[in-house]
């Protein structure tokens, strides 16, 4: 049972106050995109055993979405941050790199 801090309202609450929303930082592919791109966007998720960037909604709370950086193997939460970003902020990336030597943010395609 995870504990998460909503960066929008500052509340730290248990998982049951939140709703998970899958992988974060996906680029939407709409009309005009290739089958490959569209498939990658909707289905081919990273699903790593390790550092994962994901979306959550503070559903039983302020109702706002946010992003979390979390380890799927230990459930450690490196941090939560605004959903209105296209990649994790530097302080989060630095924190992960410090805790998981060798880790790096995915190549920008």
């Amino acid at each position: 049972m995870l504990m998460l801090t909503c960066p929008n309202c500052g509340v730290t609450g248990e998982e049951s106050e939140f709703a998970p929303g899958g992988e974060a930082h996906l680029k939407r592919h709409g009309p005009g995109s290739s089958d490959e791109e569209f498939h990658a966007y909707l289905f081919a998720k990273e699903n790593p055993r390790g550092v994962h960037f994901e979306r959550w909604r503070h559903a039983n709370g302020c109702g706002k979405w946010f992003h979390a950086a979390r380890c799927t193997a230990t459930l450690e939460v490196f941090g939560t941050y605004s959903a209105q970003t296209t990649e994790p902020p530097k302080d989060i990336k630095d924190k992960i790199s410090a805790k998981r030597p060798g880790w790096s943010w995915r190549e920008v395609e």
């Binding site: 995870l2 049951s16 998970p20 081919a44 994901e54 979390r70």
Partner: protein
Amino acid sequence: MKRYSAFAVAREAFRYHMGWERAWASPEPKKKYDAIIIGAGGHGLATAYYLGKNHGITNVAILEKGWLGGGNTGRNTTIIRSNYLQDPSAAMYEKSRSLYETLSQDLNYNIMFSPRGVMMLAQTQHEVRGYTRTAHANALQGVDTEFISPERVKELCPIMNIEGPRYPVLGALWQPRAGTARHDAVAWGLARACSAMGMDVIQKCEVTGIRQEGGKVSGVTTNRGDIACDKLGIVVAGHSGQLAEMAGFRLPIESVALQALVSEPIKPCMDVVVMANTVHGYMSQSDKGEMVIGGGADGFNNYTQRGSFHHIEETVRALCETFPVINRLKMLRQWGGIVDMTGDRSPILSKTPLGNCFINCGWGTGGFKATPGSGWGFAELMAKGQSPLCDEFSLDRFKEGRFIDESVAAGVAH
């Protein structure tokens, strides 16, 4: 392989059971195999078993990073049924169910298939309609199911409260030849049979890389050295993504924790398996007397084999409401497993972008029931490159929008 029988047990009794041989050998890996299966869970072992039995391919190694049957094979709630809505699913699960009927005899290992009947409760008008549709589909698919009345439900399962204040039972989809089996025994019996055919079941052998040449698989790298093979089958529920990555492709899969629990054992009080999807819970009674209860899956990626307790709460309250007698039973043990959920919640049995490399994964919450059927079809796919049981479960379907969606029949959990 010495045959098991009551006579053999009696004979051994007189020498204090000192004469039993190993159920399966513990060989060192050879340099090369015709086929390697990664993963000695039920599906991997069944694949190997049918590669040998149906296709005469016995130069096979089954590599297991831990102990055989140690993943979801030994963690599920052992339900076997085939009352699926969509044709490809019904074909796969019914094939599997029919193989279960004689698996004990085939393997000469009692896997305790118990065709006690499975009912899926309809507790809303919407569910009644969904299950009526399934019953119609099943009739054309050769799956023996019927939609039964609340009175019949009560007759089959007297401890159920069919007049619950919130969701009275309006009927059920009943499959009389569905049931349960002893999950560990399925893996053990298959491993013994594979071993007897001369296959190598190699435990504590972790695959760390997949080797390829000219777009085709050539072998694997393991903690016990490199092993070459002509064909490779990846059958590693919960770790499919990692293996696919080694083979150089990505799967439409997310891994999440699914939980289950058992009560303390009590004398028999429930002779059927009951699934209640509206309230999210299912329950059966094991031969040991424990009430075996399946819970919900977490919605977030998780590899810890531990789930969140609120899912247990949700399931238990649903079952307390449906079966009032369990209020005063106690939860003995809870556990979790990692399940691979695909984009349409149906499995993948498919060729992959890597030549001669095949993958069998994505069974989500419902893999145990498919064990022999999945092995049957996947072995055919590996041996011949094509299998009617597997064709619809290809990786390409997600790209084409050709989903096999079972949730349409009233949000059915597996």
